[in-house]
């Protein structure tokens, strides 16, 4: 973010301008008012030292831009910059622009993540005499590629695209990388850059106007999704005063002529499909409100529906356990909790009895209020809970109304096109015939996204409303790797894709053939390939997929969805079973990582505003000694049956490690006293997922036997980016050099101390990450079982030596995209 310092002769001006700019940028941009002088009898003037102080207050941002009003203010601003330390000076620029217009434009541009140059450019073009603008907007032609996504919208919020709505529009689009152009259809204007506040306001889009938007680039669909969402919420302005018309005016005809044949979305599950499109509307039966006489019978109907919904969800859970893993299944446990939530069921019952409402209406109205409550929350995690509730609520309504499952079975191959995919849809899919799925909404981190990513077919989310334009039955090409759908492929494209699909299928079978071989590079370096599992059943799948060991056994499922914590015997049985399934392969038991975001009612945990930074992992274990001891004893007992390692999650400090060691010693003593067998040399280690632990790695390493890097949390904490927040999705990127540096630091510390280091986060199974991780010296790669065959196939094609150089190259880059480009170029050059 680029911070802004406002210098004016008058403190009132700089204070007032700061407030305006904050309102425009939704208070996201650090702005400091540095106007006036600290001289009671002479307050009008500027003070270089005061300005210097102001700059220093925000120097920790990506950059600081200083604006000044007339003459002396500018001289003093420049003086202040000269007075800064040399390394600070490099981050600060003076911006010669009209103060008010410049600062407002800069704030909006910065809120959207603009670079220093982009912010300056926007500020400097902030003032044009109106006549020039008319000329300019009238002549700007649209030069977008055929892949551009194009759509028209009606703007119905009272302010139109001005002031805050315009700022939100621009800020939202600036989070996208695509080039986005906008024109006012109603006023027949030219095209302008939709990411420029100044340009957008010149279009004078007022309530009722139609706009045309063209987005060109990788995330073009996302850009349209952003606009759609803003219009849906009426730019936060409250209800619209006019109803949107059904169709845009005629002028839009030339614009729609530019429709490209390719739709873009978010790649969820890779693979290729060529098949006729098939639309499914998951619309709900409409609910009529009626008056019932026999209220008890109506309550019974509701009970019955709830029971059947419970059965259905449990069934789905089972199916998802077969196809995916326990973690996925746990998502449905949250669904069950909603079903049992007295807040909904009790109120619905009371309304049936009290208001003589029919069960459908009572249930829908009650759930709707809660869903609405969730939707208003700021916390994205809680908001996601609202989606779950909506899913559950719809299921109950479908049962009550006798509507059938929306995702039916097919008799021929199809590419499914649906507005919304719910978690419960995923395991219900007919995978025989469904060759691929395109969804209008959704993202990677939605529950449905997590589930769908495990499907053996291409899946693309977030395609946007244009998906509806795809003709039913038309042959389409779905590429789950790039997230694109060709809705009108020509013969050549079809041919191409069929070949691609063949080679994909070929590659899969090649990988299957070598999956049980060790992973050895071209130049003879061997690395361990392990599986992440979260249930007993998955142990066998891991072995069958070619895992040499289990690098992560999540144990949270033992604690979830029950009334009391599992005792030592119960846990011991589970661990023994897994050890037995692994047939001599090592099992990494990770002690419970239960945090405030996982519902474990009997633990009676306090609510936390920030569960990710809260009382979870080892932190929680250390302060709940009984619970912790039980698990440690059970885990140690398993070490008598086969090779076991114990790993602690969410570690920040050396003291925690030492305390955990102590707990383990206590557990060993108590087992010895009880005459229980265990392996006294059981390896212990920690997950590296907190930046503090990565920083302290060399101090911690001598006290343990291994590190395992958890990239999802490490990325979230290093980048300070919540992975569920779409506005900062590009920050949550494990390929960012900042994350890679933490990984490198950890590996170097491990090597220096003579211990091994693995990785059990999503990155370990990402083919693009492999060469860098290999080059950095990672010993063990632990991933989802279904990734292992292809991982091994790719691995054998690498040269470890060359990867060392590549790793070093990536560490000095500045962005995740650059890292990716660099690796891609490397792979193209060395592997073909």
């Amino acid at each position: 973010m680029i911070a802004i310092v406002i210098v004016s002769h008058s403190r009132e001006i700089s204070d007032g301008l700061k407030r305006m700019a904050e309102a425009m940028s939704q208070e996201n941009v650090p702005i400091v008012s540095a106007g006036g002088m600290d001289e009671p009898d002479n307050p009008l003037g500027t003070d270089a030292l005061l300005i210097k102080d102001a700059i220093e207050q925000v120097i920790d941002n990506d950059g600081v831009l200083v604006f000044a009003d007339i003459g002396a203010a500018k001289l003093n601003a420049e003086m202040a910059i000269d007075l800064l330390a040399a390394d600070q000076q490099r981050k600060v620029r003076f911006c010669d622009a009209p103060l008010v217009e410049g600062v407002l434009a800069a704030a909006v541009q910065s809120a959207g993540g603009g670079t220093m140059d982009a912010v300056i450019q926007e500020a400097q073009s902030a003032y044009h005499p109106p006549t020039d603008i008319a000329k300019e907007t009238g002549t700007l032609a649209l030069e977008h590629s055929d892949n551009a996504i194009h759509a028209d919208y009606q703007i119905v919020n009272p302010l139109g695209l001005h002031a805050r709505p315009a700022a939100r529009f621009v800020t939202g689009l600036n989070a996208c990388t695509s080039d986005v152009r906008l024109r006012n259809l109603t006023k027949n204007s030219g095209w302008v850059n939709a990411k420029s506040l100044n340009k957008v306001v010149t279009l004078e889009v007022v309530e009722g106007d139609y706009i045309s938007v063209s987005a060109d680039g990788e995330d073009a669909a996302q850009a349209h999704a952003v606009i759609g969402a803003l219009i849906d919420e009426n730019f936060g302005e409250g209800p619209a005063r006019i109803a949107p018309d059904a169709a845009p005016p005629l002028e839009s005809a030339p614009a729609t002529a530019q429709l490209g044949p390719v739709l873009n979305g978010i790649p969820i599950s890779p693979g290729f499909a060529v098949a006729p499109a098939h639309h499914l509307r998951t619309e709900l039966p409409s609910v009529d409100v009626t008056r019932v006489e026999d209220t008890e019978a109506e309550v019974a109907r509701l009970e019955d529906a709830l029971a059947r919904a419970r059965d259905e969800i449990t069934g789905i859970m089972k199916r998802s356990r077969d196809t995916a893993n326990e973690y996925d299944a746990s998502i449905f446990k949250a669904h069950l909790l909603h079903l049992d939530d007295p807040e909904i069921a009790d109120i619905a019952r009371a309304r049936i009895r009290g208001e003589q409402l029919n069960a459908e209406a009572a249930w829908q109205q009650t759930a709707a209020i809660l869903i609405e409550d969730y939707a208003c929350l700021d916390d994205t995690l809680l908001r996601a809970r609202g989606d779950d509730l909506a899913d559950v609520s719809n299921l109950v309504l479908r049962i009550l109304s006798g509507a059938t499952e929306p995702i039916t079975e097919f008799d021929r191959p199809v590419v499914l096109c649906i507005p919304h995919l719910t978690p419960s849809d995923v395991p219900a899919l007919d995978l025989e015939h469904v060759r691929g799925i395109c969804v209008e909404t959704g993202g990677k981190t939605a529950h449905a996204g997590i589930l769908a990513s495990g499907l053996p077919i291409p899946v693309v989310f977030g395609v946007g409303p244009r998906l509806r334009e795809v003709e039913d039955g038309a042959e389409v090409i779905l590429d789950g790797t790039t997230g694109t759908i060709d809705i009108a492929p020509d013969a050549k494209a079809l041919d191409n894709m069929k070949r691609k699909r063949d080679s994909w299928v070929g590659r899969i079978s090649e990988a299957q053939a070598i999956k049980l071989d060790p992973a050895v590079t071209r130049d003879g370096q061997r690395r361990r390939v392990a599986a992440n599992i979260a249930s007993v059943d998955e142990a066998k799948i891991a072995v069958d997929s070619g895992a040499e060991e289990v690098g992560l056994f999540r144990t949270e499922f033992l604690y979830m969805n029950r009334d009391a914590a599992p005792d030592e015997e119960e846990q011991s049985k589970v661990y023994d079973k897994v050890v037995a399934q692994l047939g001599g392969r090592s099992l990494m038991i990770r002690t419970m990582d239960i945090g405030g975001d996982k519902p474990v009612p009997y633990l009676d945990r306090p609510g936390e505003a920030n569960p990710n930074l809260g009382w979870r992992g080892l932190r929680y274990g250390l302060s709940n000694s009984d619970l912790f001891q039980t698990q440690l004893r059970a885990a140690l007992r398993a070490s008598a049956k086969g090779p076991v390692r114990i790993m602690f999650p969410m570690v920040s400090t050396l003291e925690e490690v030492l305390a955990a060691r102590n707990e383990l010693e206590t557990a060993k003593e108590s087992l010895s006293t009880a005459g229980r067998a265990f392996d006294p040399d059981t390896e212990i280690g920690i997950m590296i997922e907190v930046p503090a632990a990565a920083e302290l790695a060399e101090l911690i390493a001598p006290h343990i036997d291994f590190f395992s890097i958890g990239t999802n949390d490490l990325t979230q904490y290093v980048m300070a980016a919540d992975r569920g927040n779409p506005n900062i999705a590009d920050l949550f990127d494990s390929f960012h050099p900042a994350v890679l540096r933490a990984v490198k630091r950890t590996i170097v510390a491990a090597k220096d101390a003579g211990i091994w280091v693995g990785m059990c986060g999503a990155m370990a199974g990402d083919p693009l990450a492999t060469p860098v991780l290999l080059g950095l010296g990672l010993d063990e790669f632990s991933m989802n079982s279904n990734q292992i065959p292809e991982f091994k196939l790719d691995f054998t094609k690498l040269s470890a030596d060359a990867c060392v150089d590549l790793a070093h190259e990536t560490l000095v880059l500045t962005g995740a995209d650059q890292v990716r480009e660099c690796i891609k170029a490397f792979l193209e050059e060395t592997v073909s």
Binding site: N42, D47, A48, L49, L50, G71, L75
Partner: protein, 211 residues
């Protein structure tokens, strides 16, 4: 040689002049600016007196002057004179006495400082119009073999000439430039305060029997 005492005396004398000419400078600024130059300079130099260090290093003294002016003057003259004294302080760092050659360096670095900050040229009706001639005259006198005090005498005369020469000029820098043509026929306040600063340097040197 100018000792550090000469320099301190110079600064005190400048402060007296700014106090005595406060009304005059403000009046000049009222004609083509915002009627604050006298107040600005007086306030600045008052702060300078409070901050004058007990130090023999001329560089350190000039740096203290610079910082006080930067934080207290408020108008354009603050950063301008501030940078001027900072540049001089850097050039003379560590010197406890200034040779005739050092004084020339003092003037040269002063010009550099004003140019660096204000990016003006001679003839734009600014400080530079008395400062540049002062430096030139000093340089010529020294090249012709004149003593330090004589050189400063020449510089003072040149600064005064330069100051008066700003009267017919049209301002193209600073606040006065907003007046355009109407800035003609007025003496520039900044050039005037600069003349006072050069003049007091000469006075401090000659009264203190600098050799």
């Amino acid at each position: 040689m100018l000792t550090s005492e000469h320099i301190t005396t110079w600064i005190r004398k400048s402060a007296d002049e700014m106090r005595d000419n406060r009304g005059y400078l403000t009046e000049l600024d009222a004609a083509i600016g915002d009627a604050d130059h006298g107040n600005n300079m007086d306030r600045g130099y008052k702060a300078v007196l409070e901050k004058l260090p007990d130090d023999n290093d001329v560089g350190a003294i000039l740096k203290a002057v610079a910082m006080a002016l930067i934080s207290k003057v408020g108008g354009a003259a603050g950063p301008l004179y501030g940078t001027m004294f900072l540049q001089a302080a850097n050039a003379l760092k560590g010197k406890e006495a200034l040779s005739s050659e050092d004084v020339e360096l003092l003037l040269k670095s002063s010009v550099d400082g004003i140019v660096m900050r204000g990016k003006a040229h001679a003839g734009e009706k600014t400080i530079l119009d008395s400062l540049i001639p002062a430096h030139e005259a000093y340089k010529e006198a020294r090249a012709a073999g004149a003593e330090l005090i004589a050189c400063l005498d020449a510089a003072t005369h040149a600064a005064e000439e330069g100051m008066k020469a700003t009267i017919p000029m049209i301002a193209t820098k600073g606040r006065a430039s907003y007046l355009g043509e109407r800035s003609r026929d007025h003496q520039d306040p900044g050039a005037t305060s600069t003349y006072l600063i050069i003049k007091t340097l000469y006075e401090a040197a000659s009264e203190g029997d600098a050799t």
